[in-house]
């Protein structure tokens, strides 16, 4: 979905409804929106021109830790939440809202995403738990809790942006019961074509394949769950929304259930997640049976702490 700095919440809600309604009419029960979508409202609150490049980079110049900026972001956060709730209710569908600012009681700023039920009620939140170096310089804080959120499409675990590169997050979420990982990604790319090919024996990976395989695909294979990767396109962002599954469940044995046809246009992917088929895969090849918890306890988390020192 293409991001824009929005004048107000109403126009964002309308864009979501217009884009998602066809999928709902075809039976979609849950829709995952892309990263950073909810930050769009913050742009006008903070006086950013509509034509300014979209992304946290533009906000980064505003010193997010300043009190007036914090107040504006808090209002934008409330408004974005309302947008998602209204859209979910209007559509009669569960929504994973695109991530948005969230300001805590202690005025700490997070990138966070809500899950909203079809009645327009927020059922859970997930804050981004790992930040890139540049995100840290913008004054973002990282979340320290993980949530598994029950929906009709499965038990969701959300990975926001950088979180997907840390396998700890996906593992914890799946150990806590998630059977669908949702990754909200956003990538500025140099325009390379992101094509999914069904690789034959002697075929090598394209750069685009390697990139998405190194993200949610990898998590899905390691944890034997479904994966929904929503992406921003346009405004300097490119990528293909993809629905992942364990290799054994996909016709090309490639781990891809569906993938967007383009990497730079609005599109909604519609896929059915067969949880019984997933259970069959887990029963046949139960990789969690071989987890070596005693070994992990021997090294974790102390080894991380030692490295940090």
């Amino acid at each position: 979905m293409e991001p824009r700095w929005q004048l107000d919440g109403t126009s964002l809600a309308q864009r979501i409804v217009d884009l998602v309604r066809p999928a709902v009419s075809e039976g979609a029960e849950l829709v995952a929106l892309p990263a950073l979508l909810g930050w769009g409202i913050a742009g006008s609150r903070l006086g950013l021109p509509l034509e300014a490049p979209y992304g946290l980079e533009a906000l980064g110049a505003l010193e997010l830790s300043q009190p007036d900026v914090g107040r504006a972001l808090r209002r934008a956060s409330e408004e974005a939440t309302d947008v998602y709730c209204q859209a979910a209710q209007a559509l009669g569908v569960w929504l994973v809202g695109g991530s948005m600012p969230q300001v805590s009681e202690g005025d700490r700023l997070y990138n966070a995403a809500p899950v909203v039920d079809l009645g327009g009620k927020v059922k859970g939140w997930q804050r981004q738990t790992h930040l890139s170096r540049v995100e840290r310089t913008w004054g973002l804080s990282r979340g320290e809790d993980l949530s598994v959120i029950e929906t009709p499409a499965g038990r969701l675990g959300l990975l926001l942006r950088e979180d997907v590169y840390y396998p700890e997050v996906g593992r914890f979420l799946c150990l806590l019961g998630a059977n669908v990982l949702v990754h909200q990604g956003s990538w500025h790319t140099s325009g390379q074509v992101l094509i999914h090919n069904n690789c034959g024996e002697n075929q090598s990976l394209s750069i685009g394949q390697a990139e998405w395989m190194s993200r949610l695909w990898r998590e899905v294979q390691a944890n034997q769950v479904f994966g929904l990767e929503s992406v921003l396109v346009g405004g300097g962002y490119r990528g293909r929304a993809t629905v992942h599954a364990p290799l054994e469940m996909t016709s090309g044995r490639d781990g891809v259930l569906a993938q967007a046809g383009s990497d730079n246009m609005d599109e909604v992917l519609l896929t059915e997640l067969d949880l019984q088929a997933l259970q069959a895969v887990v029963d046949y090849y139960p990789i969690y049976d071989m987890l070596n918890e005693d070994m992990y306890q021997r090294y974790f988390p102390a080894l991380y702490e030692r490295v940090r020192e």
């Binding site: 738990t129 914890f172 090309g252």
Partner: protein
């Protein structure tokens, strides 16, 4: 057979096999040959030699020794400073030393050995206990001698070892250019079939600093899990080696679930050395490779070199740039959320264990 009789039988069989693999005869066979010399390491770039070994049963130890000798020489002739062999290099092929191995693995029920081995009706653990001392000794003497003869580091794949309680482990061994055994690594995550046989796993990941880089070598199934590789990485591993033997035909995507994925999470070079061929009717397949984080691979695909086939014996070499890796790791140092890990380790693992229904993970 009661337990006492079984151990008596194992003891007799062990001694009989050990007599067939005397260290002196292995050394004599390897002495007097011409060996290439591995270039001395400079600490910045390392040339890796990867052996994609055809697994077959050797009834004569001398044939096995000749084969691993030739493969080592081929790698070192191509400039390899560290030569890497796959999992089971020092076990399955040497099972051919056990007289009547095919009949014994049929489980006495006339089943094809491949089926009996897969379903666990073959007395695999019993046979491994018989084989372990001889296989371990032959493997050690052969690779220690080869490493010294070529002045190379050799990651000699795995062999079988027994602990004092007679538990059976797969154990990888690294030899230095003076022939010294530098470090061992036991498998920490068993393949379900190995668990079915009654093999044991360890709880330690060893990392060793050498002139050819900081090395770690979790084994095969270990690379299905991020944890052992993360443990190695957090201890400084720069080259993470996956000696593997997958009892399956090569599949492009399935293979990418292993060490290729792991070195994207824990940025390091990854080496996948695989066994191919057929042993006791079981097919082994895979395309060995040398991998890197995407940004450190010339084509952006995380692949530095790979075998041409997924089903034939090959030796190939690739040079990895340790300086480039170190610079990349400094620039892209991860920012771990230790508070988060503290909160969920081991609680999340325990919660998952508690949530199982009749021992089964429920995802539906």
């Amino acid at each position: 057979m009661n337990l006492g009789m079984e151990w008596l039988a194992i003891g007799i069989a062990q001694r009989t096999l050990l007599a067939r693999v005397s260290p002196g005869s292995v050394r004599r066979q390897l002495t007097g040959k011409h060996y290439p010399s591995a270039p001395p390491p400079d600490g910045r770039r390392v040339r890796l030699g990867v052996v994609q070994l055809e697994g077959r049963l050797y009834a004569r130890l001398s044939d096995y020794i000749e084969q691993v000798c030739q493969l080592t020489r081929r790698a070192v002739e191509d400039g390899a400073q560290l030569v890497i062999f796959p999992e089971d290099t020092g076990s399955y092929p040497l099972a051919g030393l056990i007289p009547g191995i095919e009949r014994l693995t049929s489980g006495g029920k006339g089943k094809p050995p491949s089926e009996a081995v897969r379903e666990g009706s073959a007395p695999v653990l019993f046979l491994f206990r018989i084989l372990a001392p001889a296989a371990s000794q032959a493997h050690h003497v052969a690779f220690s001698t080869l490493a010294r003869s070529c002045g190379a580091y050799i990651l000699a794949g795995s062999t079988l070892t027994l602990d004092s309680a007679r538990r059976v482990y797969k154990e990888v061994r690294l030899y230095g250019p003076d022939g010294a055994l530098l470090v061992t690594q036991r498998k920490t995550h068993l393949f379900p079939t190995e668990a079915l046989w009654g093999m044991s796993h360890d709880e330690v990941i060893n990392v060793i600093q050498t002139p050819v880089g900081v090395l770690a070598s979790p084994i095969c199934m270990d690379h299905t899990y991020f944890e052992p590789v993360r443990i190695a990485w957090l201890q400084g591993a720069e080259i993470i080696i996956d000696p593997a033997a997958d009892a399956a035909r090569y599949e492009f995507w399935a293979q990418r679930r292993g060490v290729w994925s792991r070195v994207q999470e824990s940025p390091a070079y990854g080496v996948h050395a695989l066994m191919v061929g057929h042993i006791l009717g079981n097919e082994f397949g895979g395309r060995s490779g040398v991998y890197a984080p995407l940004a450190l691979s010339p084509n952006g695909d995380g692949v530095l070199a790979q075998a041409a086939t997924g089903d034939a014996e090959e030796v190939f070499c690739a040079t990895v740039d340790l300086e480039a890796l170190r610079a990349y790791r400094r620039e892209r140092a991860p920012d771990f959320n230790v508070a988060l890990y503290r909160k969920y380790t081991p609680q999340a693992y325990m919660q998952a264990r508690a949530a199982r229904q009749n021992g089964r993970r429920v995802v539906a």
